[in-house]
């Protein structure tokens, strides 16, 4: 079997960071090469994980367990299942792409930059594979510092404000979750923070609702769900390209992942109780994000707000409590990571050349930079869920599934798809069509390196769009086990028992 693969995945980027830190500061290219090589090796290692993963199995696989702090019952437990497999792959795939794409964008303090990027990758992988709640929490918070440094040191003009806002928002949620974890731990009474062991903890409905709140705020801020999203546009816009890519593609997914992993299985009764309200918030987010995106004059901010809309879909899919929609949510998280990550990279290319992100300053980009224009169009189409591209295979099942259980929400959210087409295509039209004017004149086309990093992204966007089966084969069993779990009181297509009944049943089980 070789060395434990999940620990290897976590350790590799951290080691790379240490190596990069040991290289003298003036050897910038050596540091960049180290970062690129590290991320590529990590990606290759994650392919080993993919190969060892058995499709069609719902349970955790490739588990590792070691005692960490025995006196507190904290263990170093790792494992991967259908939900996390592709999120880890997304992370390891996008990192080399992002590093390659932003090669020369950070001219100063290169060492600190790439060390932060690599530490961040370690923490992100750790969050997805941790099966001990404290270990999860440690990785969850550990992401904060490198991300905060990336935004604050290498960000745009309002970077300090954005960095501190990002940090504090996330910290509030995190600490509350920690209290929730502790409460669960003592309620369990088994001196363990093991994910599966804590599934058995009996709770009253009041406790469930309060704990649900403690966890939910942490994840809703991360997602971000309307109205917890206000940190996002600032952080995204001010972050350097690689930071935006990581934020949009992976950090936001941690919110969605946390909801799936913890809220639904741990607090089923509270989930049933609060699902309609949260679905309402997510639909508001879909429409609000789309409308605000339409109003943006800064293309990076537009992409940032589009994330609010897209992640609204993901949350809708999860809280529709339907196997189809929830599986769609997982796939949509991967897709959103690819499309939005690609969009931020493309915007980064543009900004690197022209130092302008104002939509109105561009015109005729498609003529000035045809390859860039073509790739941009494809990614935009993927983002607005054109059939045949990856966005569609995630968003469509969400809507179908949600329509089964919450038709009104599904119908309303569908307008979000229309609006997405509107704001994305409108922006595309303004920037890429027409005579070559303004900043577009200073826009040479993509160079071979940039084309090279975009090729795999484009290939995946098309590949997943045409053949999503490998994803669903691995995602669905886990989701099915979760959603059809007796405690969620609902089979895939059955009419849901209404609130009070579920509460009664839940209370009975608690005794």
């Amino acid at each position: 079997m070789g060395p434990p693969i999940l620990s290897t995945l976590i350790a590799l980027p951290a080691l790379g960071a240490a190596v990069a830190a040991a290289i003298p500061s003036h050897k910038r290219d050596a540091i960049r090469t180290t970062a690129l090589a590290t991320t590529i090796v990590t990606f290759l290692a994650s392919l080993v994980m993919y190969a060892r993963f058995e499709a069609g199995v719902a349970a955790f696989q490739l588990e590792e367990h070691v005692d960490w702090i025995p006196a507190w019952g904290v263990r170093y437990s790792l494992g991967v299942d259908g939900i996390t497999l592709f999120l880890v792959l997304l992370c390891t795939f996008l990192m080399p792409v992002a590093v390659g794409a932003t090669w020369g964008q950070v001219p100063q303090q290169v060492k600190g930059f790439y060390a932060s990027v690599l530490v961040l990758e370690s923490a992100m992988i750790g969050v997805f594979v941790a099966l001990d709640l404290i270990l999860f929490y440690v990785f969850f918070e550990a992401m904060l510092v490198p991300m905060y440094i990336l935004i604050g040191v290498w960000g745009g003009e309002r970077r300090k404000y954005a960095a501190v806002k990002f940090f504090l928002y996330t910290l509030v949620g995190g600490f509350l979750m920690l209290v929730g974890i502790l409460y669960l731990y003592f309620k369990g009474g088994a001196q363990t923070f093991d994910y599966s062991a804590l599934l058995q903890v009996p709770l009253t409905i009041t406790e469930e609702t309060l704990l649900f709140g403690a966890f939910f705020i942490a994840f809703a801020i991360k997602v971000p769900l309307f109205p917890f999203h206000t940190w996002l546009p600032d952080a995204h816009t001010e972050a350097p390209t690689i930071g935006s890519v990581d934020l949009a593609a992976i950090l936001l997914k941690i919110g969605g992942y946390g909801i799936l992993r913890f809220l639904l299985p741990y607090f089923p009764a509270a989930t049933r109780l609060l699902a309609p309200g949260i679905v309402a918030l997510s639909v508001v987010g879909v429409l609000y994000g789309a409308l605000v995106a339409m109003m943006q004059s800064d293309i990076k901010r537009l992409v940032a707000y589009s994330s609010v809309a897209h992640m609204g879909f993901v949350i809708l899919g999860v809280f529709a409590l339907d196997v189809t929609s929830a599986s769609g949510s997982v796939v949509q998280m991967v897709n959103h990571g690819l499309s939005t990550g690609a969009l931020f990279i493309l915007v980064g290319f543009m900004y690197e050349r022209t130092h302008s992100r104002v939509i109105a300053e561009y015109s005729g980009l498609a003529k000035a930079a045809p390859v860039f224009g073509g790739v941009f169009l494809l990614v935009v189409l993927s983002s607005l869920a054109l059939p045949g591209l990856n966005g569609f295979v995630g968003e469509f099942p969400i809507l179908i599934g949600a329509f089964q259980t919450m038709p009104a929400a599904a119908v309303t959210a569908t307008f979000g798809v229309v609006l997405a087409a509107l704001y994305l295509l409108w922006a595309y039209q303004r920037m890429f069509h027409g005579p070559v004017e303004g900043s577009s004149r200073r826009m040479p086309d993509l160079n071979p390196r940039e084309v090279a990093v975009m090729v795999p992204v484009v290939a995946l966007i098309i590949g997943i769009g045409l053949y999503p089966k490998p994803l669903y084969d691995r995602v669905t069993p886990t989701i099915e086990q979760m959603i059809t779990h007796p405690s969620l009181e609902r089979t895939a297509r059955a009419e849901p028992p209404r609130g009070p009944a579920a509460v009664a049943a839940r209370t009975e089980r608690s005794r």
Partner: protein
């Protein structure tokens, strides 16, 4: 050994368990030694020889009298060592003092480890002194803080020209008082220990004689400290009046008996809380803290914030969580209120500070609130969490004040937020270490600060203090804001033009070693805290 470590018998001739109090004796002895060597002036070799002679004779007599040779042998060895050191640094008395003080702290750690490994938890010296986990752990904390302080303060004191001979004896005497306070099993002993440490600290605070701020601080500290000591003493008197004993075990048992006059008990407990509240800087008895922290020489501030807190909380723990544990329902509501106020006021007032020492002073108040959660848990986990927190906090606090010490040597004035702007660009390593301490104080995972907070929160939730823990969470987030402000200023702000003329800060020698040790401890304890957590949970024994 067994003879020495036996439980003391009460009566006219208490058997003195020398071994059990050997850490205190060492600190005290080194203090006297350094003082003697210093006052001997140019005659130092002579004084040193005299000390050696006295030590050898005393050690021989003690060995013959008790039949145990370990301690006398150690004493003799120390006597020879001081002679060698004196000969080595004849012309550099300060360095000699620093080295001897450092050696004293190291010896304290060693002796404590020896005691912890060999002696059972018990009270000795007629029930006056406890030799239990809390006492041992507090000694570690105080000695570690002292050791770091000696390393960090040397150059600073030289440059400010306040490096006088009394510094090290006073530091050691304060440490003696602190370790003794952590080990006091009798309210009289508590009072004596508090006075020993306080008197030393009053003088240390006012050490810069020509600095008006320091003088003001010292006077303020002295007046308020004396006031609080008086209140504490009054509380002790009331306890004695109610129970007829100042011994913690007896007084605690007697207070718990049904029929004890309620009004008097409450008054006694309240006065004791006020007394301890002053020493641990709990709101609303915190008024002196920011001023004193700001005015005292920075290394002293670091030592005060870390070691005094550790010692005072150990006594607080022993008295309330231990002796008066059965009365928890009486005193917990009061402490609950104080804890909430402490956490919120400390964090909120720290936000508006621009002077970094003052900011850390307020942050120390907030941390006192977190420690109170561990104390109020009244459980084994609570005791071990408190001890663990205090040690971790001591390292981070002394470390961060240490960086400030280094910074002050550059700016030659109090360090404000503006002074560290762009500091991270110029001296990334030192600024990075500072950021590490600050992140640790904020409780971020990967640092020891997280593990400490986790331990305390864990104990709190276990003891059904969940809402108090939620308050602590809110306070922690507010606190994170002002810690972050410093990090922002260091790494994200541009350097002011006048700072560009200054050379980058590159600590050397003892300062570099202390900072490296402290930051390594913060990381190691943040990643693999298992061993220390075990040590703390084994130390969660209160002998009364």
């Amino acid at each position: 050994m067994t003879v020495l470590a036996q439980t003391a018998v009460s009566g006219a001739h208490p058997e003195i368990a020398w071994a059990a109090i050997s850490p205190e004796l060492t600190l005290f002895g080194v203090a006297i030694l350094v003082l003697m060597l210093d006052t001997a002036g140019e005659q130092r070799p002579g004084a040193s020889l005299l000390v050696l002679g006295v030590t050898l004779v005393g050690a021989g007599l003690a060995g013959v009298a008790t039949g145990a040779w370990v301690l006398p042998a150690l004493a003799a060895l120390a006597g020879v060592a001081q002679l060698a050191l004196t000969a080595r640094w004849r012309r550099r008395p300060r360095l000699l003092g620093a080295v001897l003080a450092g050696a004293g702290f190291v010896a304290t750690i060693g002796l404590t480890a020896w005691q912890q490994a060999t002696a059972p938890a018990q009270t000795v010296v007629a029930g006056m002194v406890a030799a239990d986990g809390v006492a041992h752990f507090t000694r570690y904390t105080v000695a570690v803080a002292g050791l770091l302080t000696v390393g960090l303060g040397f150059g600073y004191l030289e440059e400010r020209r306040i490096h006088r001979g009394e510094y090290y004896p006073l530091l050691l005497l304060a440490a003696t008082g602190m370790t003794l306070l952590g080990a006091s099993a009798d309210l009289i002993m508590v009072f004596i220990a508090i006075e020993v440490l306080s008197l030393s600290l009053y003088i240390l605070t006012g050490f810069p004689k020509r600095d008006l701020t320091a003088q003001e601080s010292a006077l303020k500290y002295f007046l308020l400290g004396a006031f609080s000591s008086a209140l504490l003493l009054y509380g002790v008197a009331l306890v004695y009046g109610i129970t007829g004993s100042t011994n913690l075990a007896e007084a605690g048992a007697a207070m718990a008996v049904v029929g004890t006059p309620v009004g008097l008990s409450v008054a006694a407990l309240a006065l004791l809380i006020v007394g301890f509240g002053f020493k641990t800087a709990v709101v609303p008895f915190h008024m002196w803290t920011p001023d004193v922290y700001q005015g005292a020489p920075t290394p002293v501030t670091g030592f005060m914030s870390a070691a005094t807190k550790a010692a005072a909380f150990a006594a607080f723990l022993r008295v309330f969580s231990g002796a008066f544990g059965p009365l928890v329902l009486t005193w917990r509501p009061a402490l609950y209120t104080l804890a909430v106020a402490t956490m919120m006021v400390g964090a909120l007032l720290a936000v508006v500070q621009t002077d970094l020492k003052r900011m850390l002073g307020y942050s120390a108040i907030a941390h006192a609130g977190y420690v109170l959660i561990g104390l109020m848990s009244v459980s084994r986990d609570g005791v071990s969490a408190t001890l663990f927190y205090l040690l971790v906090y001591a390292i981070m606090s002394v470390g961060s004040f240490g960086v400030l010490t280094a910074l002050e040597r550059r700016t030659h004035k109090a360090v404000a937020l503006d002074d560290v702007r762009g500091f991270g660009r110029r001296s990334p390593l030192v600024a990075g270490i500072m950021a590490l301490f600050l992140f640790g104080l904020a409780g971020l995972p990967g640092t020891a600060g997280f593990m400490a907070k986790f331990a305390v929160f864990r104990a709190g939730v276990e003891a059904d203090l969940t809402w108090l823990v939620v308050v602590a969470v809110v306070s922690s987030v507010i606190a994170a804001f002002f810690y972050l402000r410093v990090v922002v200023a260091m790494f994200m702000d541009d350097e002011p033009p006048e700072a560009a003329a200054q050379p980058p800060l590159a600590p050397r020698g003892a300062v570099a070693a202390s900072l490296a040790a402290a930051s390594a401890a913060v990381i190691v304890l943040g990643v693999v805290p298992g061993a220390l957590v075990d040590l703390a949970s084994r130390a969660a024994t209160v002998a009364l």
